[in-house]
Subunit: 320 residues, 2 copies
């Protein structure tokens, strides 16, 4: 397994900490009671650009030499990595070219434009994204910063779990969403270094279940296209993140669309923080009937949840 | 001026700190740029029961002797104090009788019921509330805990500004909403003790402008009834809060309904925290054309904003 080590994660944290928010860890007595666990929510939805993605993007972009950076950045993303790359590129004073799928939420493409990112829209498939980005890179000569198949990105994303554990001390488990696997890989690397016995669960929409299938079959499976409401979770694992997750992950829990919306509403009502569906998914397994099976032999487990982002169209909320 | 001194505020803080959240102080580069100030948002919308009111309510209820507490609590409130009293009474294991105006948001009356409070609805006027509560007190023999005309309440509410200033150090100003004046009086007492030169502004809906008029005329003026969207700001000052504000307040800024909604939307989009209209009002003066006049001679002032609550019906948002 090739993966960024603890030294790279610490280096990333030193690099990005002055530029980003130290996000709060929130708690809720009601959600504790509903889940039968003691929950610690790491609020990356309150992070700069509205998601954890600024951690990896700023680590990658500020790792570049001046010569590399001056050529600009190119990437593809359903939205949050796009905004984060645009923002970090603006901090560094270099241009960013962004490929986004046509079905990305308008609130996310607007954020990219607000940070000065130059958007090229493509068909909403994983392969169309990658092809469009490769073409743009060839045209511009810019540096490609892949949304997750990149050690600098994974090391950056790892810092959210490291901060969480600095505040909570040992936890029985951490739950995080999984799409391309950058956040989950980083979380696994950081958390297992600090607490080797910690349980690590990925939460994935049943409608975009490639990571679940990949871990079942032992082969990299793809979700070519999905219309899950969790618009940030439509990508598929890369070889790099698949290898890390195969080695470190405890398991993946599939979550239905209704469960995602239900968890999102509870977070809004109880934690009072704006959380996008792709982020609320990480609470859902703890509310389901089978939650106890995640924590056999542990009464009232202490569980960290990474709330990954808060970029959602306030005029098109899914609450019924 | 009769008011709780610094010793009472510290005593309140020691009493309630183990029971409540230490709420985070959030920042936003975008809101800083829009306001021309450095803003520090004390997020009492993330507080237990969804508002700062649990500070005063738990201070008052845990100050009672066992004999007093055993008689139960009675109060009147448009919603957030009602929920806070119900919650703190449940913590203490005693009953709470609550008078609420018929036009209180359903989300607030439901919260009271969830904490076990027993609601009596009344006409939506200031005098109808007080009369109904007095009647209930006579019937039940319970202890009246007024939502703001009470030193224990004011000392409790003061602790939000004290925590804010512990984190930020000296600020040029603090803005907070004003209704009955409990939060604003406490904020003024706590902040002026720590930083005698700090400027203190109350933010009030133009549609419920009794505090503004009271400070203008030097007489206690009333808003008998108001339909402002800021449903938590429909009450009027009491003699106790009026006396404190006359002595300590720098000024009151009136805010239109449109400005309240605009500020609320910016907070939701940028800070990613759920904030009710009564709370968002405290950002509005900093976005208005005349904002500079609040801070003559101070370039880029450091300003604290108390986000007082986050209890809002997610199915009836005012965003257009």
């Amino acid at each position: 397994m090739a993966a960024p080590g603890w030294e790279k994660i610490q280096e990333a944290h030193r690099r990005i900490a002055p530029r980003i928010h130290r996000t709060p860890v929130l708690r809720s007595a009601t959600l504790d009671a509903l889940s039968g666990a003691s929950l610690f929510f790491k609020c990356e939805n309150l992070q700069k650009t509205g998601s954890f993605k600024i951690r990896g993007a700023s680590n990658a972009i500020f790792s570049l030499s001046d010569e590399e950076a001056s050529r600009g950045i190119v990437t593809h993303s359903s939205g949050n990595h796009a905004a984060a790359v645009s923002c970090a590129a603006a901090w560094r004073g270099v241009p960013a070219w962004i490929v986004m799928p046509r079905n990305a939420p308008a609130v996310k493409s607007k954020a990219v434009e607000a940070y000065g990112g130059r958007i090229t829209f493509c068909e909403p498939t994983v392969s169309a994204r990658a092809e469009a980005a490769a073409r743009l890179q060839a045209e511009t000569g810019a540096v490609m910063i892949h949304p997750y198949d990149d050690d600098r990105i994974i090391a950056g994303q790892a810092t959210a779990a490291v901060e969480l554990l600095e505040e909570t001390g040992e936890l029985d488990a951490i739950l995080a969403p999984v799409s391309g696997g950058g956040l989950l890989s980083g979380t696994a690397l950081g958390a297992r270094h600090l607490y080797p016995g910690i349980r690590l669960y990925g939460c994935e929409p049943a409608k975009a279940d490639d990571a679940y299938r990949s871990l079942q079959t032992g082969r990299l499976e793809a979700t070519e296209s999905s219309d899950t409401i969790a618009d940030g979770l439509r990508a598929s694992l890369a070889p790099r993140t698949f290898a890390i997750l195969r080695e470190l992950l405890t398991g993946i829990v599939l979550v239905s669309e209704e469960e995602i919306i239900g968890a999102m509403e509870l977070i809004w009502e109880r934690l009072k923080v704006i959380t996008e569906p792709s982020s609320a998914i990480a609470l859902a397994p703890l509310l389901a009937a089978g939650a106890r099976s995640l924590f056999e032999h542990t009464a009232r487990p202490r569980v960290g949840i990474i709330l990954s982002g808060g970029n959602v169209d306030l005029r098109a909320l899914p609450f019924k």
